[in-house]
Symmetry: C2
Subunit: 329 residues, 2 copies
């Protein structure tokens, strides 16, 4: 385990940045619905408001931040295009956003990424550059490519425009629910959590903001406790969208000042939440997307009677994998 | 194969009956959303409007008809209560409706019904009477019970108040979409199809109404061709909500006059549609609920460019069964 000391710095974004993103996403991102379930309320002993980002374009909240970042490019950047490193939802977010903006997009993906994900990214019109994850450094590869061809790198979470874009999910949730007592947000690199916490602090200062990460990789929990970013080995968890090794400097600058607590859930609790979402709410949600849901169910005693917002962050899970998770052989 | 000749009779319901049901369901049934998917439109080469009845109370459209029927009981009937024979969605529809009306409900279920369904029905406050499906006649049992205790029988489809209630699904769909070229409706006993066809004929006479049944049990297709109800052996299909042996006299009286055609889909096409609904639209739909969706995908050439309404009828499938269907061992 390594850690680095981070000075207490000004948070990387403020609520105005989120409001700007909200304007840019108007008519482009889906204003996803807020779902309710009497059955879920009973299980959590609270009133749950689920912000359904698995119904967002590309099937995850990542579209918000990706599009907002591209929309803020200057003219030269727009002409040259964008590069991103990702085999997950961020890749598709950038690919689709670039297509909508009429921009070139290059996505750097490991050559052993699932064929279906490579095809989906190409399907959005992006160029896919494959690398060998055992012998090549994708960051170095991507940055060389960016420099040579004048492309702008958009990182998956540690960027103010990405963070501000993700915050619009909470902003829309509050528009619909009004004040809440608690907001539960899935947490990997902290882009979504930092954006959402910024909104909560500005709109409802008394709303507690809690990030939820997999028990197998509680680097953010450790980082908050230590007051500095703690990096860990890639955690082994079914929540593949939260297999990050560390928060970013920018996301941490927001999280340490605006987030009240980080809690963790086990993979078994994630499977239970996925099964619940499917069988009772008829919603198909990926493991990472269930982090907040699982936390609500796991902490029913502590949060009894509260008005709780839950960001359901995505639904991109292969059907065969979904089946193997809810019905292990 | 048996068949009986049916005279051309006055249809059992008219649009006014559906409008009455719509008033009675106001604020009680969910006004389920109409979902869209660019990806589905591409696959079907048409513009699809999915009426999401898997998000209805009890997870299926059956609540509409069940509640409407109970709401039309006279005072003596309300005091005595209701009896229904079902191990599926109709059981839960009647159980929940009775609880909402403060009425007694008795549900006659086979003793080998899944424990989870028996528990769910009891969970809604209904009394469950179990019978041996190999040695006992459930109709006789139920009717004896009804007579002895003054209960009113509400059948799952062959009843005008049930049929009128189910039609409200199409009525709400048209409220949102306006005129459509084609309406696709899952078909078992014909309650949903007869109600929806009645609405389409009244509101948009040029909208073609097509019922969709499993290829393994095309009794309705045969019945329309013959002009009389054809009964078949219980079909072997994964669409358990459409394993009916024959239309009812009342549903047939409407279907023969207001439905344009019946098409069939295979179990493999249902699995493909379920997988699509999950992976692309993030919706968890039972096999029977996918009948209309599968038909839209299977007939892309014939229905190219049309405005198509698709009733997605329910989402009550056990997670283990769902997993085994989309990922066969």
């Amino acid at each position: 385990m390594q850690h680095s000391v981070t000075d207490r710095v000004t948070p990387a974004i403020d609520y105005d940045d989120v409001l700007g993103a909200q304007r840019r996403l108007e008519g482009v991102a889906h204003r996803t619905p807020v779902l309710h379930s009497a059955c879920a309320d009973e299980k959590a002993q609270a009133r749950l408001h689920f912000k359904a980002e698995h119904l967002q374009r590309i099937g995850a909240f990542k579209f918000r931040g990706g599009y907002n970042a591209l929309d803020r490019f200057d003219d030269a950047q727009k002409r040259a295009g964008v590069v991103a490193f990702s085999s997950g939802n961020h890749a598709q977010a950038i690919a689709l956003s670039a297509r909508l903006k009429g921009m070139r997009a290059v996505i750097v993906m490991p050559e052993d990424a699932p064929e279906i994900k490579i095809a989906a990214t190409r399907g959005y019109g992006a160029e896919v550059v494959l690398y060998d994850r055992y012998t090549q450094d994708r960051e170095a590869l991507g940055r060389a490519l960016a420099e040579r061809e004048g492309l702008t790198v958009v990182p998956p979470f540690n960027h103010p425009h990405v963070m501000a874009g993700q915050g619009t999910a909470a902003n829309e949730l509050f528009d619909e629910t009004g004040e809440l007592d608690l907001l539960l947000v899935p947490l990997g690199g902290g882009g979504l959590l930092s954006g959402c916490a910024t909104v909560a602090r500005a709109r409802y200062p008394n709303c507690r903001v809690v990030g939820v990460e997999p028990a197998a990789g509680n680097d953010a929990q450790q980082s908050l406790a230590r007051g500095a970013i703690v990096a860990i080995d890639t955690p082994r968890t079914i929540a593949d969208g939260a297999q990050t090794q560390a928060l970013g400097e920018l996301t941490f600058s927001v999280i340490r000042q605006r987030v009240d607590a980080i809690v963790t859930v086990s993979d078994a609790q994630l499977v239970d939440a996925m099964t619940f979402m499917a069988s009772r709410m008829k919603q198909y949600v990926e493991p990472t997307g269930c982090l907040g849901v699982a936390a609500a169910f796991a902490n029913a005693d502590a949060w009894q009677g509260l008005r709780v917002g839950v960001i359901v962050s995505g639904g991109n899970v292969d059907p065969l994998r979904f089946a193997s998770l809810i019905a292990p052989a």
